[in-house]
């Protein structure tokens, strides 16, 4: 194959709810020391999806806000998150505020009733996903690495599932790897590994096992050199993706094989015409 690295990646877009993204790294905006550090991180990471906590930003005066002021909606999708909400109804209210303020109807669903480890509440998350989808939102839920919950959310119609690698801010890496592997194996929607990825190697590891994308925040926000660290995560995410496409990851490609060898056995029997 003659393709260069970048054209290869260009031909392998991340597709969420029908929308194509070249970048497979999503960025959280909390914890940065300054707007400038965030700006550099976004640029160097190449990210196209940036999540913001609605409780932290001033939607009425975006130009004064240290987070919103550096986000250009033409360059990145601003993905509002519902952090701070503890119930499905609260999450719905928050999402509606964001939409009313002119953001696209995308929402990262975060329901973390316990304030210390910020682990997601599976029961409220499932309820909230249903309410939000009915209300017309594109929903990306933050979840425990629970394969059954992931399937239930997929059945409801969420755009992705976002299982955690380790508790938020812990930098511990893919502690839930075995369960994330099962989620990836079983999922028909993109799997974005969220939380706990503390080093570029963690992002690469997630991509190698077949995750569709990663979300990183603390490791980038806390870097000494924001630009370099963002670049490192970008490269490792791409490297992990390439390795997966090259055949490292066993699960996903099999379902996408272009020329089945045994198709002739089932020619007359086609339940799946799509």
């Amino acid at each position: 194959m003659e393709e260069t690295n970048s054209t290869y990646l260009y031909n392998d877009p991340l597709i969420i709810a029908g929308r194509k993204f070249k970048s497979r790294i999503l960025i959280g905006t909390g914890k940065f020391p300054s707007a400038e550090a965030l700006r550099k991180t976004i640029k160097a990471s190449g990210t196209e999806i940036v999540t913001v906590a609605l409780r932290r930003v001033d939607l009425k005066k975006p130009e004064n806000d240290s987070i919103l002021s550096v986000l250009n909606p033409k360059e990145v999708l601003i993905l509002p998150n519902t952090s701070g909400a503890r119930t499905a109804e609260e999450a719905l209210k928050l999402a509606r505020i964001a939409r009313a303020a002119g953001l696209e109807p995308w929402v990262k669903l975060e329901l973390t009733p316990e304030p210390r480890y910020l682990l997601p509440d599976p029961i409220e998350t499932l309820k909230a996903a249903e309410l939000l989808i009915k209300d017309g939102f594109i929903v990306l839920p933050y979840i425990q690495a629970d394969p059954i919950l992931a399937k239930k959310l997929e059945e409801l119609g969420t755009a992705t599932v976002m299982p955690l690698g380790a508790p938020i801010g812990s930098n511990k890496g893919l502690k839930t790897k075995e369960f994330i592997k099962i989620i990836i194996e079983q999922s028909n929607i993109p799997v974005v590994v969220d939380a706990g990825l503390g080093a570029p190697s963690h992002a690469a590891e997630a991509m190698e096992i077949g995750a569709d994308a990663v979300l990183v925040n603390t490791a980038l926000a806390d870097a000494q050199d924001h630009e370099k660290m963002a670049m490192a995560f970008r490269l490792s995410t791409e490297a992990g993706r390439l390795a997966f496409r090259a055949g490292l990851g066993p699960q996903r490609d099999t379902a996408e094989a272009s020329s089945p060898l045994t198709g002739f056995l089932f020619n007359s029997n086609s339940n799946n015409k799509s």
Partner: protein, 384 residues
Amino acid sequence: MEPFSFSNILNHWNSEYIQEIYNRVDEDKVLLALDKDTLSIEDLIALLSLKALPFLEKMAQKANRLTRWHFGRTISLYAPIYLSNLCASDCVYCYFASHSGIREKRVTLTEEQIRSECNELNKRGIQTVLLLTGDAPKIVPVDYISQAVHIAKEYFKSVSVEVYSMDEEHYAQLAKDGTEGVTLYMETYDKDIYDKVHLSGKKKDYLYRLNALERAGRAGIRRLTCGVLLGLSDWHLDIVWLALHAKYLEKMCWQSVISLSFPRLKHTPSRFKVPHLVSLQELVQIITAMRLFLPYSPFNLSTRESAEVRDHLIPLGITSMSAGSSTRPGGYKVYQESTPTQRPVLEQFEIDDQRTVEEVVSAIKNKGYDPVWVDFDPGFIKSL
């Protein structure tokens, strides 16, 4: 009494028992505690002991790292609004005390005056406030505080209160009003000292105050701030009890943020001399040890500390600070310019950090931190 209550825990962790643990601390125990992810109370005691002093820099480095992991390089800003300086309790260390002997004016702000104060703070950029009163539930009743919360919520994103301890139903009312947090210092967990420094009034009831934060949590208040007045007693004991209290509240009120403050008692009325003055080095040891013990808890620093000290403490585990504070009712606008003929309005304590909000913000930025104005958590959503 309930079988599992905080007072039972305190009975178990009595001063003799804690002192024995202190006596057994050696260098190895300190090093072991420094290495752990999850510290036991025994580990905390090792870090609070004299044996830990040679390792203070290591503790500070780890405290800095843990704080960055959990909160990033951010400092939340808030301002106190004193609603009233009337007080029916007599606490020897406090200028508001009913018998403090101070002749300055006692006032309770009217609705119009509260609005004027809110408006002034709003202009300065403040979005998070703490409403305070003295300990006078009959003269400054719950309904008054509840109304003040409603007024303040028109101006600010997040409103918390630091008032007298109350019944669960009253906390429930405040929660319903959209009050985000309740701050209530035990002052000291040492029962004997507590009894000696609180001469009269409702605040004299040790158990009622001890269990107040738990009642607030049960009533749905989502940010509970505890603390001791450093200087009232031997902090080696009080900080351990404070840590136990924070852990207990975490378990009982698992949906609430448990945050801590570290106020150093410095200026007191003439009738009371601070018996256990806490040095800056001791304050650093306390804050860093507690950060290692409670990596995810917000830590507040009040304007009691000088500008210089506050700037030094920022990277050691502090996550929120007051800025441009006045501890006098009406101190931002209403009684700011008093004429020479008027008696000045009594303030609770002297502010050491006299900088404006803007100056504090630029000091935070100079330290490489991002000042956070809004982090309105549950109170905001509830009141939508």
